[in-house]
């Protein structure tokens, strides 16, 4: 089966109000699967789901999570305000801990929480006060959460009752319903628990409020989640979820075929093979992923400070061959960092391969046949293949490239200012970022404030920063679309980026498992269930 995400087109305020009111009404009528009476026979005693995750957990604090794996686990452990519908081909937020929500106007959103959502550890029942604390906590500049932008225009949350409140914004905020409330920043935690944990926590949550809780964690080996007996909103079909961190997808594929895993995301380069030959007892799904893959060019490095040199590198890279070699034909070149499923997606790049022009620019910059660069990659077969094609492409224009391979921990520290001046030494690098279904998530990492954090290119463009802020509060879909396209033009114009591809997602699961996957293929483990019969 191949599922394709379709364009969400950015929800307008009118559609927000419409969908919110409708969903709220449906929940009120008990028509939604998460009404408290919905605990059903799908809960199978003694059942265990063994799934591969690509990394170990590193932080489960909603204000400080770092990877998609953290987000997947947080989704199981804590009640979110809203959740994405896993039965839909488009990203549709539906009520979760919030029983209903309604836009009073552009900047006021009234909400009502479900009654009876309990926190473990004697932290009591979830109330509107907890929502106020949780949302305002992430927005608080003093906390310095990397996800502060998720609540960029939050003024405050007004508590109007035990379970009701109003989110008050200073300005309209487009990603509120697309990523903030259905995402990790929409998790509601009790103030007392966070304070007891010292203001923040890492991998040992002070309490749980979701369908599962942590039973056992062996770092780098496995994370075992067990049903949370206090959870009553939905089913938690499996008694235990065993999440096994396996960094290398090829290893995971072998593990799946050996019967050790019930679910695994596979490597992009394996997609064509599984599409052609599926192992017995397996099911395969392919999704047009939102995650994006590109080559960064660090303008802060002395050798790459000249824009002409960076442009020459852009023009020298044969993106089609790079993408084909790294994905074995599983992906196609991208025209930016915002996937076709979202608003702001571009149709074409500004600069395509032009070897002669590249050579001319290098000569003009006085760098003809004298440039020696490094390309830093995380050691995977795909990265290595891409890097070797880029190495060959650049050799054609007289640039010698040395490939530096790193294991993931070291790699992800290369562009960090916190590690000293090494971020200035970085030259070329291959990066892949995960993504949420709002274009602001693609661009937020490249603002001037992110230099030395996630903006490893040193891309410093004031217009880009202003557009990032403006696009977040722009409700008009068409205008917003234009803003994000302009932002990607600015990125490419700078010479700092070579956009490679969006990463298609292929997932394998046992035919004894009913999966629950978002439109981008990301698993919602707590909704997985054993197939009956």
């Amino acid at each position: 089966m191949t599922r394709k995400t379709t364009k969400t087109n950015g929800l307008s305020r009118r559609s927000f109000i419409g969908s919110g009111a409708t969903l709220g009404a449906m929940a009120g009528l008990g028509g939604l699967p998460f009404a408290s009476s919905a605990i059903a026979d799908s809960m199978v005693e003694g059942s265990i789901l063994t799934a591969r995750v690509y990394a170990d957990i590193s932080s489960l604090d909603p204000a400080f999570w770092t990877s998609a794996v953290d987000a997947m686990v947080i989704r199981c452990l804590f009640a979110h305000s809203l959740m994405y519908d896993t039965n839909s081909d488009v990203f549709e937020a539906q009520p979760s801990a919030m029983k209903s929500y309604e836009f009073i106007d552009d900047t006021h959103i009234a909400f009502e929480l479900h009654e009876g959502i309990m926190y473990s550890g004697d932290y009591g029942e979830m109330t509107a006060e907890d929502a106020k604390y949780s949302f305002e906590r992430i927005a608080n500049p003093e906390l310095n959460s990397p996800y502060m932008e998720d609540w960029a225009t939050l003024d405050h949350v007004e508590v109007t009752g035990k379970y009701t409140g109003v989110i008050v914004l200073t300005q309209p905020f487009a990603p509120l319903l697309t990523t903030t409330l259905p995402g990790v920043s929409g998790v509601i935690l009790p103030k007392a628990a966070i304070e007891d944990a010292g203001g923040r926590f890492s991998v040992q949550p002070p309490c749980f409020s979701g369908p599962y809780r942590i039973k056992d964690w062996q770092p780098k080996t496995r994370l075992i989640l067990e049903r949370n007996p206090d959870w009553t909103l939905t089913d938690a079909p499996y008694e235990e979820l065993h999440l096994i961190p396996i960094e290398d997808p090829k290893t995971a594929e072998l593990g799946f075929e050996a019967g050790d895993l019930d679910f695994s995301e596979i490597s992009v380069s394996s997609i064509p093979r599984y599409e052609a030959n599926l192992p017995a007892g397996a099911e395969f799904n392919k999704f047009e992923g939102l995650n994006y893959y590109w080559m960064g060019i660090n303008e802060l490095n002395d050798q790459l400070a000249d824009k002409n040199v960076r442009r020459a590198i852009q023009l020298a890279v044969d993106r089609k061959t790079v993408v084909d070699a790294s994905s074995l034909g599983g992906a196609v070149p991208a025209a930016g960092i915002i996937a076709p499923a979202l608003i702001g997606s571009r149709e074409a790049n500004l600069y395509d391969r032009d070897v002669e022009e590249s050579k001319r620019l290098l000569e003009e910059a006085g760098m003809a046949n004298s440039l020696n660069l490094t390309i830093s990659i995380q050691q995977t077969a795909e990265n290595l293949a891409a890097a070797q094609v880029i190495q060959a492409n650049l050799a054609e224009v007289g640039i010698q490239v040395t490939i530096n391979q790193y294991e993931s921990g070291t790699f992800w520290s290369l562009g960090s200012k916190d590690e000293g001046d090494q971020y200035l030494d970085l030259q070329l690098f291959l990066m892949r970022f995960s993504m949420q279904p709002d274009p602001s998530w693609a661009t937020m990492w490249f603002t001037p404030q992110q230099i030395g954090i996630w903006n490893w290119q040193g891309f410093d463009n004031a217009e880009f920063g202003e557009l990032q802020e403006a696009a977040q509060i722009e409700i008009d879909t068409e205008k917003r679309d234009g803003m994000y396209k302009r932002m990607q033009d600015l990125m490419e114009e700078s010479g700092d980026f070579v956009f490679l591809n969006f990463v298609p997602v292929g997932v394998l699961n046992s035919d004894k498992v009913q999966t629950a996957l978002r439109p981008d293929g990301e698993p919602v483990f707590y909704e997985f269930s054993p197939k009956q019969g």
Binding site: T321, A381, Q391, A392, N404, Q405
Partner: protein, 302 residues
């Protein structure tokens, strides 16, 4: 007076017989070596590897030229071992990989042996306190796991052929040093050494002219047995991305590509694995045959 040949040291240097006898004895040792089927097989396998290294560059393919459209081709008359994920001819890459493997394994082993033997001689022949200090250093170096050491060095120097050489030297030199020290201690009080000292020979002369020839035999045997281990270390480091950098062909990096794409094609794994097996078996067989030939406890030697 006792001649060096009277020393009970295993693999001791041959007795200073009349000049005419010596070549005959050498031929005899080699004859015994190749008359051992395993020894003969070892020599043949090593010769194959050396031949591969010498023939690199004689195929019509460029070992680093990419042709992704021709990826994962099976073995054929055009590509004897098929092609890899980037369409490169695997046979050509294997031949070039032989150069890296032999350079690292023989080069690093020789360097490690020279350094180790020199240090062992000094420790064994020097004063007691120096012996203790050097022994401590040898043991401390030996206690560092190879991969950890490689990671540390690569972090400092970056992955390269030189980093691999350095890792191997640092890993192996202490073993040679310990062995040389033990051998030196065993013969430093031998009568012929006392005699040399009585005749006024300097310490350097005694170590180089009298001690070294008596201890080098078994060390050479160990070195031959070490070479396959070093081939494995080089391949392992390159497999982990810590060895020679792409696109330079190395058996380890070919194996990494093969491992990553084993479901797409088995040829890269075969191409990366087979030469490692051939070379390690060759040097192992040769080492064992050398030991059998020269170790008097096994009936060999003179």
């Amino acid at each position: 007076m006792t001649s060096p040949a009277d020393s009970p040291t295993p693999g001791a240097a041959p007795k200073p017989d009349p000049a005419g006898d010596r070549p005959a004895k050498r031929r005899g040792a080699f004859g015994r070596l190749i008359s051992d089927p395993l020894g003969m097989l070892g020599v043949v396998l090593i010769a194959l590897t050396v031949l591969a290294a010498l023939c690199a560059g004689m195929t019509s393919w460029d070992p680093i030229a990419l042709n992704p459209l021709a990826r994962f081709q099976p073995a054929s008359s055009e590509h004897w071992l098929g092609t890899d994920n980037l369409g490169r001819d695997l046979f050509t890459r294997v031949l070039y990989g032989a150069r890296i493997a032999l350079t690292v394994s023989i080069g690093a082993t020789v360097i490690a042996m020279v350094i180790g033997v020199a240090a062992g001689l000094i420790a064994g022949y020097g004063p007691r306190w120096l012996d203790n200090v050097m022994l401590l250093i040898f043991d401390a170096m030996k206690s560092i796991p190879t991969v950890m050491l490689a990671l540390m060095l690569v972090t400092v120097t970056g992955p390269s052929l030189y980093a691999v050489l350095l890792v191997v030297v640092l890993v192996n030199a202490p073993a040679y040093a310990r062995m040389a020290r033990t051998q030196t201690l065993a013969i430093r009080r031998a009568e012929f050494i006392d005699a040399e000292q009585a005749l006024g020979a300097g310490q350097a002369r005694i170590m180089l002219r009298h001690v070294l020839p008596n201890i080098v035999g078994p060390i050479l045997i160990v070195a031959a047995m070490d070479i396959p281990v070093v081939v494995g270390i080089e391949a392992g480091l390159s497999f982990l991305g810590l060895g020679v950098r792409p696109p330079t062909p190395s058996w380890g990096s070919i194996l990494f590509d093969g491992f990553s794409y084993i479901r797409e094609s088995a040829w890269p794994v075969i191409a990366g694995g087979l030469p490692i097996v051939i070379t390690t078996l060759g040097f192992t067989f040769l080492g064992e045959a050398l030991r059998d030939t020269f170790d008097p406890k096994l009936g060999g030697g003179n």
